[in-house]
């Protein structure tokens, strides 16, 4: 296990290095200037600005400088937010995205898994059809439609919850629901299929023969095995949820990372693009790692070892 973990950490670092390098060079292929005022500046003014930010250097030099800084934990400064350090920009915006994403993830996973189990246990009844309907709906309605509907009906028409902004728990309820519809549908669908599969296997029949109760079979014997595929998809999904949903943040006017990342690409804010990519990639790589470790906890049949496989 220890050897396996070490090996994985090496590969994780390598992956991250490749992601950073690729993003750096791909980004330079986008034509244009990161200065929003470029249209107003004269050529000599632009040249002085480029020199100040090191953009007049050849690409390999810029790359080497950037990598050197990254290793020292310096992600550079933003162009768009004139000289604000990228780490501050990310730190200032990740809070809402993180708490919203985690809320949606927890609510979505628990609710989705329950929905899937119920559907599997009561296969082909109205409960099953009902939960399948919810899952299909969640997968097929675009989130901007769902978010806008929630906001309009519950916020504007009924006035039960705040329409927008980010000022505390009650402000997070509608966006959480809007964001969790996706994990709900994914968890429910996977859970149902797996549960049905597992419930048909021999050891469940044995458990039944031994006289175990329906509750015991479902939650003690079946659920554990059925969870594995769900954990596989939920890991990466968590990352995409906590790094900010562009749509939900936009609709509910939440000052999160999603919008900031997209804007930074549009305005060619190089250092913000890089910084956010590094954050997303690290989280993603780390989550995949955690998921693999979780496997061995959930299913003792899976043994982790280095090499040879």
């Amino acid at each position: 296990m220890g050897k396996y973990v070490l090996q994985r950490i090496f590969y994780m670092a390598l992956t991250l290095f490749i992601v950073i390098s690729l993003t750096f060079f791909l980004m330079q292929l986008i034509p244009g200037s990161p200065f929003s005022t470029a249209a107003k500046l004269s050529d000599s003014q632009l040249a002085i600005m480029n020199a100040k930010y090191g953009l007049d250097q050849p690409l390999p030099v810029q790359y080497a400088m950037y990598m050197g800084n990254v290793l020292q934990g310096d992600l550079g400064v933003s162009f768009q937010f004139s000289n604000t350090p990228v780490t501050e920009l990310i730190a200032g915006r990740i809070g809402p995205s993180l708490s919203l994403g985690l809320q949606a993830m927890i609510f979505g996973t628990i609710f989705g898994i329950l929905l899937g189990i119920i559907a599997a246990l009561r296969q082909n009844t109205w409960l099953d059809y009902g939960s399948t309907f919810v899952a299909v709906l969640g997968k097929s309605i675009p989130s901007f439609v769902f978010a806008a509907m929630l906001q309009y009906i519950i916020g504007v028409q009924l006035g039960w919850l705040p329409v927008a902004f980010w000022r505390g728990f009650e402000y997070s309820i509608l966006p959480t629901i809007a964001l969790s519809i996706f994990p709900i549908s994914i968890a429910a669908r996977f859970m149902r299929t797996e549960m049905i599969d597992v419930l048909g296997s021999d050891y469940i029949t044995l458990a039944k023969a031994k006289g175990a109760s329906g509750y015991e079979i479902a939650f003690k014997h079946a659920m554990r095995n059925a969870l594995i595929p769900v954990v596989t998809v939920l890991g990466p999904l968590t990352v995409s949820l906590i790094t900010g949903s562009l749509v939900v943040e936009r609709v509910f006017a939440i000052p999160g990372l999603g919008e900031q990342f997209v804007t930074s690409i549009n305005v060619l804010d190089y250092s913000v693009i890089m910084g956010t990519t590094i954050l997303f990639a690290s989280l993603f790589i780390f989550t995949v790692f955690v998921v693999d470790i979780l496997y061995s906890i959930i299913d003792p049949r899976i043994r982790l070892s280095g090499g040879n496989n």
């Binding site: 004269s42 003014q45 937010f81 927008a164 305005v267 979780l294």
Partner: protein, 561 residues
């Protein structure tokens, strides 16, 4: 219980994060509860609290570094320069104690600074505060772009300080004594007052800025204020919610009614309308086109023509576009009325001019700039077709293919499709290839002259027709279409030298220049002038917007029936 362990761990971890997130942002929580209070008080007309939605967070609060509307707007409300633009779009003395003394040649201005003007730490505002800020704006190490952009060619010595590393003290801004500021210009600048109301020219307290160092202007506590309001709550450029409080030390505080203004960043126009409709905010962001028709005739919708004009640039490195008849034909073959009525439908109007309507007025008669020249290059299919045939004959071809460079937003694509259709339908033998690209790409291709036709727009930074006129001089920084007219260059030169101190002559010369550009040369195809529409609660009195730089002033506003 082991099977639930991972869910448990997840929940625990999550709750730690959640507690941290909400707990850490106590400032926002406070604002939330305060706001609930103001909701209850909504019927009480005495509560002088306003809630506004802005299109972005505040990117920067260091005046010399700003280049965007939200920053400029905030600075205009919490800080102040020599002049301030009032609700009638006139520049009135602010930090300047009355009008300055101006030398006979119009190049030297001597300002006296108000005795009662103070910074929020109690320091008086001095002449040196201006000198310091302007020198800082021209230091290449600062990385200011608006500094060189607005000062070069206007303030004496600015170009040398920025480009050639001349000693900052050679800049034409001197503190004669504590309260006397002398500004020397390179040449007379007709719109100098308008510039002095622009945040890039605001003063900065040297001792404070140097003491704060890198932290200067990174949060509400690391800024000094000298305007009608102070920032009470702002955690830096990522903060999606910020609050103004009335500045009791402001020299004109007795004429400021609002006690508190709360701002929220809202990116989506529909969200802004929903928050407005449910009473969570008083002023929306600018409405997107599709929302405007549903508020048509609503007395809470405030609309104004922006001085922003959109036109199609014709690149004269293309041989066909060197032909004046071809250009004229293209310019007259687009039904702009139909474009603004049916495609935009937001109150924007067709533009048959290069300098916008309701923007600047005659220095003596007060007549709009537009009155002398009227409409030029108006839509006329028959005429257009005549010019087109003539042009094709001169070129010796019977068909033309042109590339059309446009934006990549949905709205831009729709209107570009419409224009393509108009041109191809009305001009036989013309094929247009649409190229929809992001803004930064369009700029790059504009600079490298890599296009035939290009949809572009211009919003001015100061209240003067020349902010539009000097775009088209030969090799001008924004010409980028190889247009060159000796006549046009001569008129612009005259306006800035011979008639620099003769406002009426200068005005007429600039009008003549516009006539040359459009009527004689058909150099660009003006398309439309944009209208802004926002919703303002009926309890908000004296809502004030501006045309250049800062967008709004909140000091004239009061709440009440």
């Amino acid at each position: 219980m082991r099977k639930f362990s991972f869910l448990l761990v997840l929940t625990l971890v999550a709750s730690i994060f959640l507690a941290a997130c909400y707990g850490g942002d106590s400032g926002s929580d406070d604002a939330g509860s305060d706001d609930a209070g103001s909701d209850d008080a909504g019927s009480d007309s005495a509560a002088q609290e306003l809630r506004v939605m802005e299109s972005s967070a505040i990117p920067v609060m260091d005046t010399i570094m700003a280049s965007d509307t939200v920053s400029f707007t905030t600075m205009n409300n919490v800080m102040e320069g020599l002049y301030r633009v009032n609700a009638n779009q006139e520049e009135v003395p602010a930090l300047s104690d009355g009008e300055p003394e101006v030398s006979e040649d119009g190049k030297v201005y001597t300002f006296t600074i108000r005795e009662d003007a103070v910074w929020s730490n109690g320091d008086p505002v001095t002449a040196n505060d201006f000198v310091y800020a302007w020198q800082r704006a021209l230091n290449p190490d600062s990385g200011s772009s608006y500094g060189p952009y607005l000062m070069e060619g206007k303030i004496a010595g600015a170009s040398e300080v920025f480009n050639d590393g001349a000693d900052p003290s050679t800049l034409g801004a001197k503190a004669i004594d504590e309260k006397t500021l002398e500004v020397t210009l390179e040449k007379p600048v007709a719109y100098f007052k308008s510039l002095m109301a622009f945040p890039t020219f605001f003063p900065q307290n040297q001792a404070f800025v140097e003491e704060q160092g890198e932290d200067y202007a990174t949060s509400a506590d690391t800024i000094l204020y000298n305007g009608p309001f102070v920032l009470e709550n702002w955690d830096g450029s990522t903060d999606g919610e910020w609050v103004y409080a009335k500045n009791e030390d402001y020299w004109d505080a007795e004429n400021v009614a609002l006690d508190k203004v709360t701002f929220n960043e809202v990116k989506d126009s529909q969200t802004a309308v929903n928050a407005y409709e449910s009473g969570e905010a008083d002023i929306t962001t600018k409405l997107s086109s599709e929302l405007v028709p549903q508020y048509e005739g609503d007395e809470n919708m405030v609309s104004w023509l922006e001085p922003t004009v959109f036109w199609i640039k014709m690149n004269q490195t293309n041989e066909a576009l060197q032909n004046e008849n071809i250009r004229r034909a293209l310019a007259m073959a687009i039904d702009k009325q139909s474009l603004t009525d049916n495609i935009f439908n937001n109150g924007s109007i067709p533009a048959n001019y290069a300098v916008p309507k309701e923007f600047v007025q005659h220095p003596e008669t007060g007549a709009d700039f537009r009155e002398a020249n009227g409409d030029m290059l108006t839509y006329n299919v028959e005429e257009a077709q005549k010019f087109w045939q003539q042009g094709l004959e001169e070129l010796g071809v019977d068909s033309l293919e042109l590339r059309y460079l446009g934006g990549d937003s949905e709205a831009a694509k729709t209107s570009d499709e419409f224009i393509k259709d108009q041109l191809e339908t009305n001009l036989e033998g013309l094929t247009i290839t649409l190229e929809s690209v992001p803004f930064s790409v369009r700029l790059e291709r504009d600079t490298s002259l890599d296009y035939d036709l290009q949809m572009a727009g211009w919003g001015p930074d100061y209240l003067d027709p020349i902010s539009f006129s000097d775009l088209w001089i030969t090799d001008g920084g924004n010409n980028h279409m190889a247009y060159s007219s000796e006549e046009y260059d001569r008129l612009l030169e005259e306006a800035q030298t011979t008639y620099a101190n003769d406002p009426v002559k200068r005005w007429e010369t600039l009008q003549e220049a516009e006539r040359v550009l459009l009527e004689e040369d058909a150099a660009i195809i003006p398309i439309y002038q944009r209208q802004s529409n926002i919703l303002v609660n009926e309890n908000v009195n004296d809502f004030t917007y501006h045309f250049v730089g800062p967008e709004y002033s909140f000091y004239p506003i009061s709440m009440g029936e």
